[in-house]
């Protein structure tokens, strides 16, 4: 027996969609079109400048600082994939084990940083890295490792890793939740069969959980890449992209060019370049992963 709901009128469907479409239009589509428009001009705010065609893009392709910031994005993304997805996967499996107590509590605590504003996280970690009263250096010296103390946010050689740590820490919880819910969907019979065959924890993780989670991991990977391509606020608060350009990411560079140097036309071109590169990266990764399935 089939029950059919009365088919809503077109105007009703449209009415329900309208708010979403409007929001999308105003905060994504229109700014994007404006950015493309500005990127074709030499624009410094106020009066519109001269039309310069694609010369901003020609300059962008040759801009070593832009490519350096793209490289920084790639490093952060690489570390985040290993750190966030890796940690989250291990934690998800550990939290799934029978002997873990206070499972809900752990989950909540690990998830908590995800809902903190990035600015707060940035400030807290800046304090933790502080040379004189930062908890990190205090901790190191109290356990006799004072030789490990570094100018965490001051040395161009390590600053990129120092600013990546809070990003990894903050988002482990997000992937943990995604993985845990996916693990709960794996039928327990598969595990029972494996146990009868004598599979232990580690084997179960590698041969059952990992393959069963493949699709979820792909989604998580995409989220992770997309999130890290547009990373900005943590780093802006902690170092402002410094010292020099050593922790400048693409979004920070677009910001510097637009609002530091007041070259809004070129800044728009940087933003568009950022979108193109992120899209390309996601497409390439999808192609690579799709290859194993089909």
């Amino acid at each position: 027996m089939e029950r059919t709901l009365p088919k809503p009128k077109g105007i009703v469907i449209f009415g329900f969609l309208l708010p979403g479409i409007l929001i999308n239009l105003f905060i994504i589509v229109i700014p994007l079109i404006l950015a493309i428009y500005f990127s074709l001009y030499k624009f410094t705010g106020g009066i519109m400048g001269d039309f310069v065609g694609l010369s901003n893009y020609a300059q962008l392709v040759k801009d070593g600082k832009f490519w350096n910031s793209f490289k920084n994005n790639l490093v952060i993304t690489g570390l985040s994939i290993v750190g966030q997805l890796g940690f989250a996967f291990v934690l998800a499996i550990v939290l799934q084990s029978k002997w873990v107590k206070f499972r809900e509590f752990h989950r909540t605590v690990i998830f908590l940083p995800v809902v903190l504003p990035a600015v707060v996280v940035g400030f807290v970690w800046t304090l933790m890295y502080n040379k004189d009263y930062g908890i990190l250096n205090k901790l190191l010296s109290s356990i006799g490792l004072s030789s490990w103390i570094q100018p965490w946010l001051d040395d161009p050689g390590i600053v990129l890793y120092s600013v990546t740590a809070p990003i990894i820490w903050q988002f482990i919880g997000l992937y943990l939740i995604i993985f845990m819910s996916a693990i709960q969907n794996i039928s327990s019979e598969i595990y029972e069969v494996a146990e009868i065959d004598g599979a232990t924890g580690l084997r179960k993780a590698i041969y059952i959980t990992l393959p069963m989670l493949a699709d979820t991991i792909k989604v998580a990977l995409m989220l992770c890449i997309a999130g890290n391509m547009k990373i900005f606020d943590n780093i802006f608060v902690m170092t402002g992209g410094g010292p020099g350009d050593s922790s400048t990411v693409m979004a920070q560079y677009a910001y510097n060019v637009s609002f530091g140097q007041f070259r809004l036309g070129y800044g728009s071109a940087v933003s568009i370049g950022m979108i193109i590169l992120s899209l390309l990266l996601v497409l390439v990764i999808r192609r690579l992963m799709g290859g194993t399935n089909r």
């Binding site: 705010g45 040379k131 161009p156 402002g240 010292p243 530091g260």
Partner: protein, 445 residues
């Protein structure tokens, strides 16, 4: 009928919301009369960095004056936004990009040309000419930073050097220097001795990137290059950033950095935090502008304050610059949005006059700071010894241009970012490389 009424009221409500949103820049509608008096309410937006928790005279004085203005002009409603210095620079630039500047705001000298060229702010020439007393009350040189081809971009609210050495005489005495070293080599020698004693020679907080530019390079650069070189750079008369004297100045900074003269967290603390180590007696000196005098007087412990004195950077071997000179100027001014008119403009002009005029100067002087106007009448007995020392030094020394006030933002950003790297011993940034980068930005701007 009922339906039409509903529609009509919806349209009216929508329209009134739109109107009130744009109302900020126009005279308020006449229905909006202030209670009691028949006068109209005038709304002004004001953006500044005069924090109520600050101890700097420039902030304290402006806070008092704004309260005074509010009390005297009940029909003017000031919606104020107060940010810290670095955020203010960012915010003003961002608002300017969107053509959305506040009615009255603090303008940085380096933005003046661009804002005037883009028609975002009002040239103050006519307003100044109308009020001779106000105009003549300013320190004549204060307008230098805001004079764009004869157009005055703002009313200067300070006139000070951006580079003084605040040093602890007690610590210097411990390594055998009764007075502040007079030559660069002596200074290096003293710094090396502090290093041995475990004291930070120079405490610097350069996270916001302007400190090294304004307080160190602008003054030290002039020692090597002389002011003519900078004027030639500014007017594009042939000088280049790759000229040897400028490279020498960068090399001197590199020398300081290589010998470990700075604290290791130089790039992660800011200019107010750089004073902390000095207050604790853990640092021998720090470099900052005259605006810090009032803060040092308020915040430093007595035993440190008593030993704190002011000096200029020492002269260098073979440098073209004068010894009794340091980077300085007005730097910040109050500017008016170009779309102010009528009563709003009147109210705004009144506010600008109060904040930049003689009264502000007198109040500043009592607290230990100089304003854009000449202080005429203040109680000298209230001034602290450090402030008198500061006034004396200010009087003796010639002001040379502050790089980040006179150069375009695109050059400054390259310069300041590069300085950050130069200040880290391990970065591998060479003075020559940095000079080339600055020159490239200069040629492209």
């Amino acid at each position: 009928m009922k339906r039409t009424y509903k529609m009509l009221s919806a349209v009216l409500i929508g329209a009134s919301m739109l109107l009130s949103a744009c109302g900020g820049n126009n005279a308020a509608p006449s229905g909006n009369a202030a209670a009691g008096s028949g006068e109209k309410t005038i709304e002004l937006t004001l953006t500044n960095s005069w924090s109520s928790t600050s101890t700097q005279a420039v902030d304290v004085v402006r806070r008092k004056l704004i309260d005074e203005y509010k009390a005297e002009n009940p029909n003017v409603k000031i919606s104020e936004e107060t940010l810290d210095n670095a955020s203010l620079k960012t915010k003003i630039k961002t608002l300017a990009a969107g053509n959305n500047l506040p009615d009255v705001f603090m303008l940085l000298g380096s933005d003046a040309r661009m804002f005037l060229d883009n028609g975002l702010i009002m040239p103050l020439n006519d307003i100044l000419d109308e009020d001779k007393e106000w105009k003549d009350g300013f320190i004549p040189a204060a307008f230098n930073d805001f004079d764009v081809d004869g157009q005055i971009a703002g009313a200067p609210i300070q006139m000070t050097s951006t580079s003084f050495v605040y040093y602890n005489a007690e610590i210097f005495k411990n390594v055998g220097y009764e007075t502040f070293p007079a030559t660069w080599d002596e200074l290096i020698d003293a710094l090396a001795k502090f290093k041995e004693m475990g004291i930070t020679p120079i405490s610097m907080g350069n996270k916001d990137q302007w400190v090294a530019g304004s307080s160190l390079l602008s003054a030290l650069g002039d020692r090597f290059t002389g002011t003519d070189w900078f004027n030639s750079i500014r007017d594009r008369q042939g000088a280049s950033f790759t000229d040897q004297p400028f490279i020498d100045a960068l090399t001197a900074i590199k020398q300081l950095s290589d010998m470990g003269a700075f604290n290791s967290d130089i790039n992660s603390i800011d200019h107010t935090q750089q004073r902390t180590a000095f207050y604790n007696g853990q640092a021998a000196m720090f470099l900052e502008g005259g605006w810090a005098v009032s803060s040092v007087v308020n915040d430093a412990p007595k035993e440190v304050l008593d030993n704190t004195h002011l000096a200029l950077l020492p002269s260098v071997n073979g440098g073209a610059g004068e010894a009794w000179a340091t980077a300085g100027g007005s730097g910040w001014a109050i500017a008016l949005n170009s779309n102010l008119e009528g009563e709003e403009l009147e109210a705004a002009v009144k506010l600008v006059k109060l904040l930049s005029g003689e009264k502000a100067a007198n109040m500043s002087a009592e607290l230990g700071d100089s304003s854009g106007s000449i202080a005429t009448d203040y109680d000298k007995s209230k001034s602290t010894p450090l402030f008198l020392e500061y006034l004396d030094l200010l009087e003796k020394s010639k002001m040379t241009p502050v790089y980040d006030i006179h150069l375009a933002p695109s050059i400054i950003q390259v310069m300041n970012k590069g300085l950050q790297e130069l200040l880290i011993p391990s970065s591998g940034k060479t003075p020559e490389k940095l000079a080339e980068e600055i020159q490239e930005a200069y040629e492209n701007s």
